[in-house]
Point group: C2
Chain length 259, copies 2
DNA sequence: CTTGACCCTCACCTTGGGTGAGGGTTCATG
DNA sequence: CATGAACCCTCACCCAAGGTGAGGGTCAAG
């Protein structure tokens, strides 16, 4: 059976232009031309087109598809596994983005604060995270947060602004960092940080580095190096250990719950 | 504080060209130029840039961002909710694609059959599904399959080729459709179809229409209209009802299990 | 006064095609 | 046989979001 471009296009749900495009990229040459110069595709061409479309549908770029179609023994396994990794990474990224956008929309619906401001801070945080953590780290981080109770996460996230404001006020009023008041703030701070970052110390260190490097985040959240230094003076090692232990407990119970 | 392009680019993790591009699109005009014509950005520009980046990071096209930045009261909620829907749809699509690719890779790892062939059939099926079902239908369909037991799904998918082959053989040998042998095949067929499509009749009808329309799928799977007609002659209404009831039971238990 | 690191504008390249422009072919119908 | 509809051809510009030069000016340090 032979087909003209239009017929083949209709049969495969493509446009004529797309077939022309495939031809220009040397992905699919019609096996013949009519006397008037019309493209004529035969069954072999149709099979090749279907292989092409299968690869294209998987999201593999056309350029790469050319080599795959022409190789008599295409290294499909490698291409496929590599491609799966790519799709997986995109998917994770989309998932994170969607979560962030939904959080923003949710807060906006509750009229909590300026939507623009929310979006600015949230996306700024996402950008910073993507700059400072690699794919694997972000995934570990996601898993930690997924294991936690959603409402608890939201509750503690909602707690941040007040806590930061309290700390800033104390620092501005020059309250002694050793005072019980500041110690309580610092203790809660540590607990929240530990709950947020999870028990992974490498991630905690990277987080600290991120806050140190990203002046925009400092500005957005109000968490400045000066404030951190002030709180650090209030924090004894035993408090740190207590906060870390609390996190470990959370990790243990949430892992247990996930099993 | 003022910045040159290079400084601003570094501070925000962009390239100089990107800032030039933003300027050409009238998204971010530097508030001044030096005597030599150098771009000079001030703090207001930086703020605007950050708002721009927040929107860009959410995946909103630059063209749309222009209007949002210039509106003094941007309709962000609408844009955001619309955008969330877009991201969600993309996410679903990616998820489906990833599942399909993983299934193909899995089978290839077990050396079940030609990888090219697998990819061809699987992606052909995905394309057909996307042509014949809309976003909402596909999502309902996904939910149905997610609710089922993964191993059971795989097992029945693995059963298809043999069943189709048995049916083809029977038809080729001109076995009486009313014979118990063919009736057994048809009965199992109905059960598998019902388990695959779920209890939604609209989806079942669309599936039938899809198989009728997609000659490529017919060829790939071996399920031709002739074969379906042959099996239909073997199927009594009571068998249909029995198969449908079996599916309803699965639906009930899997919903119960999900609760 | 030169060197290296900036900066400027202009302009073509990328992906996967869409959308014409301008003109030829095929086929059925009057 | 002419005419109109529905095909087909090539050529060529257009999109988003920048990348990558080319060719030339500017700035600060040595």
């Amino acid at each position: 059976m032979d087909y003209t471009v239009g017929e083949l296009a209709k049969r495969c749900g493509l446009t004529v232009r797309t077939l022309h495009h495939f031809e220009k990229l040397k992905l699919l040459q019609p096996s013949a031309r009519s006397a008037a110069g019309y493209r004529i595709y035969n069954d072999a061409d149709v099979l090749r087109l279907h292989r092409l479309l299968a690869l294209r549908h998987s999201g593999i770029p056309l350029k790469e598809i050319g080599a795959l179609l022409d190789a008599e023994d295409p290294p499909l396994i490698d291409v496929l596994t590599r491609h799966i990794a790519v799709v997986e990474a995109q998917l994770q990224r989309q998932q994170r983005l969607l979560n962030a956008l939904q959080r923003v929309a949710e807060r906006a619906a509750r009229r909590e604060a300026g939507l623009t401001e929310q979006l600015l801070v949230t996306m700024g945080m996402m950008r910073a995270l993507e700059r400072h953590f690699d794919e694997a780290e972000l995934r570990r981080f996601d898993r930690w947060r997924e294991a936690l109770d959603r409402d608890a996460v939201r509750a503690s996230e909602a707690e941040w602004p007040a806590l930061i404001e309290a700390a800033r006020a104390a620092m501005a009023a020059d309250v002694d960092p050793a005072s019980p008041q500041v110690k309580a703030i610092a203790q809660r701070w540590l607990e929240l940080v530990n709950q947020f970052t999870g028990p992974d110390e490498a991630i905690q260190r990277k987080f600290a580095a991120m806050y140190a490097a990203e002046t925009q985040i400092q500005h957005d959240t109000g968490v400045t190096p000066a404030l951190l230094a002030y709180l650090r003076r209030a924090v004894t090692d035993e408090m740190r250990a207590a906060a870390a232990q609390a996190t470990q407990r959370i990790a243990a119970t949430s892992n247990g719950g996930a099993r």
